[in-house]
């Protein structure tokens, strides 16, 4: 985990609180953050322009459902489709990446966000993700979520 002033940490917290409308706490470590007995999902988006890289979010079903419910303004009793959940998690990558890049590199940078995607990841992939250099974990509405930014080639 990195220091408290990293733009990804600052922006992640802001997006979780203001956009996803969740109560957010820091997680001290990404290791052991996720319940390995349940599926773990990854939302990522490629960044092209000011920097070449990718922004990745890892979370589990409960977080993704809460996110979709909050974005759509639906009560927890109202059902969600898989497509809505996937779209919400994908859009979070898009919003987070755009706001992070602006925070980190300035208002006037030019970039493209391409190929947003969501998929389930394996335990090995989660382990690799957890060892990334730029990685921040949070508990959002008591559900784990972690964000990472990777630069191509690093």
């Amino acid at each position: 985990m990195n220091n408290n002033t990293h733009p990804l940490k600052k922006v992640s917290q802001r997006i979780l609180e203001d956009w996803a409308m969740m109560l957010v706490d820091d997680a001290e470590t990404a290791e052991g953050l996720f319940d390995k007995s349940s599926p773990v999902f990854m939302s990522w988006i490629k960044i092209h322009g000011v920097v070449e890289g990718a922004l990745t979010i890892v979370a589990q079903e409960d977080f993704i459902k809460t996110l979709a419910h909050n974005l759509l303004g639906r009560s927890e009793e109202e059902p969600l489709t898989d497509a809505e959940c996937k779209d919400a998690f994908k859009e979070m990558g898009n919003v987070l990446a755009g706001n992070f890049l602006t925070e980190a590199y300035g208002e006037d940078i030019v970039f493209d966000l391409i190929h947003p995607n969501v998929r389930e990841i394996t335990e090995d992939e989660l382990e690799k993700f957890s060892s990334r250099k730029i990685l921040f974990g949070f508990m959002a509405d008591d559900q784990p979520v972690a964000m990472s930014f990777s630069i191509k080639g690093n």
């Binding site: 997006i15 203001d18 956009w19 979709a68 974005l71 759509l72 303004g73 497509a83 809505e84 779209d87 919400a88 994908k90 859009e91 898009n94 919003v95 990446a97 755009g98 706001n99 602006t102 208002e107 006037d108 940078i109 030019v110 970039f111 493209d112 966000l113 391409i114």
Partner: protein, 129 residues
């Protein structure tokens, strides 16, 4: 006055969130039309009266720039105001979009305040949150 709004975005969640954001303002809306790409958006424009278009840029089938080109080349829809909603906000990108004929640019996440300001600027009516 109540408006007819067309939202062109390939993400259903983005369309729904934008509709929800409208619900948090005093802006009166008659109908929301939703399209998952520029081609469907143009088809909806041809069959419905639309006061204002919210447009995404990166979409499959027909992207936002192609949609703008088609719109501006058609005398019927030449003056239909378009607001782009995107995560990218550089001046260079805004200039490029403005020269393509968009009226305003909203950066995600769209807040009720930014929505009201953009619509007030374009449609010239005083709207409050």
């Amino acid at each position: 006055m109540a408006y007819n709004i067309l939202i062109v975005d390939d993400s259903s969640i983005v369309r729904k969130v934008l509709i929800k954001t409208f619900g948090m303002t005093d802006i009166k809306v008659n109908n929301f039309y939703q399209a998952e790409n520029g081609k469907v958006g143009l088809d909806l424009l041809h069959s419905n009266w639309v006061d204002l278009v919210f447009l995404d840029i990166n979409m499959p089938v027909m992207n936002g720039m192609e949609f703008m080109k088609n719109l501006r080349n058609d005398p019927t829809y030449k003056e239909t105001p378009v607001i782009v909603v995107s995560t990218e906000g550089s001046q260079e990108r805004r200039d490029e979009l403005l020269s393509a004929g968009i009226k305003a640019y909203l950066r995600k996440p769209v807040t009720p305040k930014s929505l009201v300001e953009a619509i007030t600027q374009i449609l010239g009516e005083s709207k409050n949150e």
